[in-house]
């Protein structure tokens, strides 16, 4: 029962108490729910077809609005997908808004059987300490044949296929900076 219809019914209905009221909530075409949302053109994160999507977020980017995803639809301009999506793409709203998404950093202490919350600063500091200690302890400047190799076999780094090219380049820079030889990504599997 739309708000407008309800008002109509009560006003007219009031008079009906005494007599017979024959007016009724007339069927009407339902409200179009995304007429004033903000549209962002983006790309689906899932497979390599790279379908274009339009992400509808709450509000018109006014300052006091925290945008939330209300609907995701295909981008008709994208030359490959032309507005279509597969079931995963069509439910992107679920992926962005579902409440099992992690919201803050956590740590599992050695030997513990549960997570503990940790602040960003403390997490980064402890990770940096681990990285430096492991690198210093396992650094191999020269291999068994005496050749200069400068590698850190104590660290392995994987991932990147769901990340941007730019981030992958930054990852390669960090891998090179730390001398990490064990480096792989989903492309392998």
């Amino acid at each position: 029962m739309q708000r407008r219809t309800f008002l109509k019914a009560t006003v007219v209905g009031g008079g009906a108490v005494l007599g017979f009221d024959v007016s009724r909530a007339e069927a009407e075409m339902r409200e179009f729910k995304v007429s004033r949302t903000t549209e962002t053109r983006s790309t689906c994160p899932y497979c390599a077809v790279s379908c274009g999507v339009i992400i509808h977020t709450l509000g018109d980017q006014a300052k006091n609005v925290v945008p939330a995803v209300v609907h995701v639809e295909g981008d008709p301009d994208h030359p490959i997908s032309r507005g279509t999506l597969c079931p995963k793409g069509a439910t992107l709203k679920d992926d962005i808004t579902h409440r099992r998404r992690l919201l803050s950093p956590r740590v599992r202490r050695p030997g513990s059987d549960h997570w503990e919350d940790i602040s960003w600063d403390e997490a980064i500091a402890k990770i940096a300490r681990h990285v430096k200690d492991t690198r210093d302890r396992t650094f191999v400047a020269r291999n068994a044949r005496g050749e200069v190799v400068n590698r850190t076999p104590g660290i392995a780094m994987i991932g990147g296929c769901t990340d941007t090219n730019e981030f992958n380049f930054l990852q390669w820079k960090v891998v090179t900076a730390l001398g990490v030889p064990y480096r792989d990504t989903q492309a392998r599997v």
């Binding site: 962002t40 983006s42 497979c47 390599a48 077809v49 992400i55 995803v69 301009d77 030359p79 490959i80 997908s81 999506l85 995963k88 992926d95 962005i96 579902h98 992690l102 919201l103 740590v107 599992r108 202490r109 059987d113 997570w115 997490a123 402890k126 940096a128 990285v131 492991t134 690198r135 302890r137 291999n143 068994a144 200069v148 400068n150 104590g154 660290i155 780094m157 994987i158 990147g160 296929c161 769901t162 990340d163 090219n165 730019e166 981030f167 992958n168 380049f169 990852q171 390669w172 820079k173 960090v174 900076a177 030889p181 064990y182 792989d184 990504t185 989903q186 492309a187 392998r188 599997v189």
Partner: protein, 805 residues
């Protein structure tokens, strides 16, 4: 992909094999059906299961998992025997006329040069015959028995339709129907494309399967032509981008080789990796290797890279041996590895950005055991994956008690992605809660480590401190600035070699990799992506979807590497005079002065005949004979590592000889006597790997709620299994239980005269995920087996037994 998604609509025949595009790339599959609607294209699906691709295919052919090489070599033989191959194309664009050294041979399942003790091939006997000037000897008539064409003909001669039926289990008449349709494109008028995915890559003979498809497509003259090519459908959104930007240990960005210990200086490294042309008419584009490498070093070490210190070459970590996926966990599990003859420690620290090894396997138990040896682990994820909680995995994963696992696990929170065409990703909204973008997390870790080295020193601090990180906000690197760095910037005044008048002053963005220098005056993070960010702006953001040629190239939509070319090797779409084989579907054509159409895969103003069509190859020709591979220059059928039968072609060498088995106590291989049923794993269209089951109240968990095992109806009857009942599948490494889906879409195959059963199950469920939508990890059963070239695990064919639960 050599071609593009939309280009598939130009095909007359599509062979969808080694992949299930309808389920795993449904929107890309639109163009398969567009081809059928527009030009009545024939879609052939070859798959062990009758999948949703087969449901709409014109012809479906069953096949036993892991026998694709036999099938494809059968098609190659059919093309040659019936003469239905594109002879002009083969003479002009492929290495068919090249002569191979007489020492090359193949006998009893082994190519020449196999060192049984080391389990490797010595490849000297696979070399070309060279003339005085170092160029390859050729026989244009293709008669010489040592020419590649004749060697190929002899090699595939054994793959008769009867042998294909015996190995693959595909009925002979079905195979001949497929052959009839596929080889119908072996001429100028018709074009066919081959599409594949993990159905080919995830085998111990994966690379050779794709080689066989490439040889077939070259014989049919389909490579480089619109509607043709060999098209790999990548899984993740940026698998292509991740490999381009060196996501794997053996390459640097732009597929440059990672330096090895024995290459002491930059000069030694460049000499080892810069090939010399093998034919006069070979552009041999890799001769520009030094320009790409020096520009990369300038990009990564900035001012610290000077001519005097070899542009920082010594700081690059060198590799000895294999550091790929399965070796990471093998060395992690053992705690050490032998490198260049000496012992070196295995990984004790582990960082994963959105990757889930416990689920990805193979052999999940080994994964859990290996991770339990770590001192520390950083998981950057947006959901709590199996890897994040490996320390509380259920009992059947046989992980140690949590108290006994020393690993300190940090679970940090991320979002972001990209696409194959370098397409810009506009951000819709900020990450929820205190989540940070990937680049912020990575920057924070690097900068914190750098501060520690500056304060306390340690092992080779210069390696850490000299990597340039000069972004306007180092803690939150702007992706636009990073893209500029990758695309290529002039560090001093640079003249364009092909057009002297074009000059770039210091700080300006270059136009493309043609302007890269090897004297340190240019910096470029990835020569392949060069040209994505020019002075004209960020081409990845372009959104003009006009397609004047009507072939689905979209040159003004985003940027396609290399150099915005949309169809690779498109010179091969034209004959010797530069006329397109099929005028209605022209890739590029010579208009008298220059090549027009797609961005030419050729020197724009080089008349036809100056250079071969395959500019990256030293001989400028497409390689029918590929001596650079670890398991043979020609594809040869080998059974999977867990083989259900002895190899009918050469029983003494049943599986791929170039694969060395893993030897830890977790690496167990099953024998066919105890595990008679062939098993395969695959994905479903309603889920994405191990990601979408975490969506609480998600619609995907609704339309595909839980784990199941697909069992042929006849086998289910034999074992008294009802549809929907619980069954148990056991391999040498583990066992899983799930709902039986009894179906006629899986049929018994008569292989080598015996009735052979096959079953399969999807991979999407694990012990992490929304309660009610968890399940067993498929990779509890998969073996520690892999391809000797790409080291990709063999998920697609292994042995199991089946029981009622």
């Amino acid at each position: 992909m050599t071609n593009g998604w939309v280009d598939i609509k130009n095909a007359d025949v599509i062979l969808a094999m080694g992949g299930n595009p309808a389920e795993n790339h449904p929107v890309g599959f639109k163009w398969f059906l567009e081809a059928r609607k527009v030009r009545n294209c024939k879609l052939v699906a070859v798959d062990p299961r009758f999948t949703r691709t087969a449901a709409v295919a014109d012809l479906y052919s069953p096949i036993r998992p892991g026998t694709d090489i036999a099938f494809l070599c059968g098609l190659v033989r059919h093309a040659i025997e019936t003469g239905r191959f594109h002879e002009d194309y083969v003479r002009l664009h492929t290495s068919a006329p090249c002569l191979v050294s007489p020492d090359f041979g193949f006998d009893e399942g082994l190519f020449s040069g196999f060192d049984a003790e080391k389990g490797e091939y010595a490849r000297e006997s696979w070399a070309y015959q060279l003339d005085g000037r170092g160029f390859v000897k050729t026989d244009p008539t293709l008669e010489d028995p040592q020419c590649v064409f004749q060697l190929l003909k002899k090699h595939v001669d054994r793959y008769t339709p009867e042998m294909v039926e015996r190995i693959c289990g595909t009925p002979k008449d079905t195979f001949l129907k497929v052959a009839e349709i596929v080889t119908s494109t072996g001429n100028a008028a018709r074009v066919g494309t081959v599409t594949y995915a993990l159905g080919w890559t995830q085998h111990s003979t994966g690379v050779q399967m794709i080689r066989a498809a490439a040889i077939l497509q070259l014989l049919l003259g389909n490579v480089g032509r619109p509607g043709g090519g060999v098209n790999a459908f990548r899984g993740h959104s940026n698998i292509q981008g991740a490999t381009d930007t060196a996501g794997t240990f053996e390459i640097l960005p732009g597929y440059l080789k990672t330096p090895v210990g024995s290459q002491h200086s930059l000069r030694e490294y460049l000499d080892a990796n810069t090939p010399k042309p093998l034919l006069a008419a070979s552009m041999n584009y890799w001769q520009n290797y030094p320009k790409f490498m020096v520009s990369l070093l300038k990009a990564v070490y900035g001012k610290a890279a000077t001519r005097e210190n070899d542009f920082g070459y010594s700081w690059l970590p060198k590799v000895d041996g294999n550091y790929s996926w399965m070796y990471i966990y093998d060395d992690m599990y053992r705690g050490s590895s032998t490198r260049a003859g000496g012992q070196e420690p295995g990984p004790e620290g582990f960082i994963t950005f959105g990757m889930n090894p416990v689920a990805l396997g193979p052999n999940s138990k080994k994964m859990v055991a290996a991770l339990s040896k770590l001192k520390w682990m950083v998981v950057v994820e947006n959901v709590e994956t199996e890897t994040a909680i490996f320390w509380k995995a259920p009992r059947e994963y046989e992980g140690p008690e949590p108290a006994a696992i020393p690993t300190e696990v940090f679970l940090l929170r991320t979002f972001t992605n990209s696409a194959r065409w370098l397409q810009w990703k506009w951000k819709a909204l900020d990450p929820p809660g205190q989540a940070k973008a990937d680049q912020e997390i990575l920057a924070a870790i690097l900068l914190a480590v750098r501060d520690l080295y500056q304060k306390e020193g340690g092992a080779l601090p210069e390696q850490v401190t000299s990597v340039s990180w000069s972004y306007s906000n180092p803690y939150r690197p702007d992706l636009g600035e990073v893209l500029k760095e990758m695309s290529g910037t002039a560090l001093a005044e640079v003249h364009d070699p092909s057009d002297k008048t074009k000059v770039h002053t210091a700080g300006q963005q270059l136009d493309g990799f043609g302007q890269l220098m090897d004297d340190g005056t240019t910096a470029c993070g990835n020569w392949l992506h060069s040209g994505v960010y020019t002075e004209a702006g960020n081409n990845a953001q372009r959104r003009n979807n006009a397609d004047p040629l009507g072939l689905g190239m979209f040159h003004n939509w985003a940027f396609s590497w290399p150099a915005n070319r949309r169809i690779m090797y498109n010179r091969a779409s034209a004959d010797a005079e530069g006329r397109p084989w099929d005028p209605t579907r022209a890739g590029i054509k010579w208009n008298g002065e220059k090549w027009v159409g797609d961005v030419p895969d050729m020197k724009p103003d080089a008349p036809p005949g100056t250079y071969g069509a395959f500019i990256m190859m030293p001989e400028g020709l497409a390689r029918l004979f590929a001596p650079a591979l670890n398991d043979g220059p020609f594809p040869e059928h080998y059974e999977a590592v867990e083989a259900p039968i002895a190899n009918p072609l050469h029983p003494k060498v049943t599986s791929n000889p170039a694969f060395k088995k893993f030897t830890s106590d977790k690496d167990v291989y099953g024998a066919r006597e105890e595990f008679p049923i062939v098993c395969t794993t695959y994905r479903l269209t309603e889920h994405f790997h191990y990601w979408t089951q975490h969506q609480h109240d998600g619609l995907l968990n609704e339309v595909q709620p839980g784990f199941f095992i697909e069992i042929p109806e006849a086998l289910a009857e034999q074992k008294g299994i009802r549809n929907g009942s619980q069954v148990r599948v056991i391999s040498a490494r583990g066992q899983i239980q799930g709902v039986a889906m009894v179906t006629r879409r899986l049929r018994p195959l008569t292989v080598d005269g015996k009735e052979t059963w096959q079953i399969g199950f999807p991979i999407h469920w694990g012990f992490a995920g929304v309660p009610g939508h968890t399940g067993p990890l498929a990779n509890l059963l998969t073996p520690s087996a892999m391809d000797p070239n790409t080291w990709t695990p063999e998920y697609k064919a292994f042995l199991v037994k089946l029981e009622k639960a």
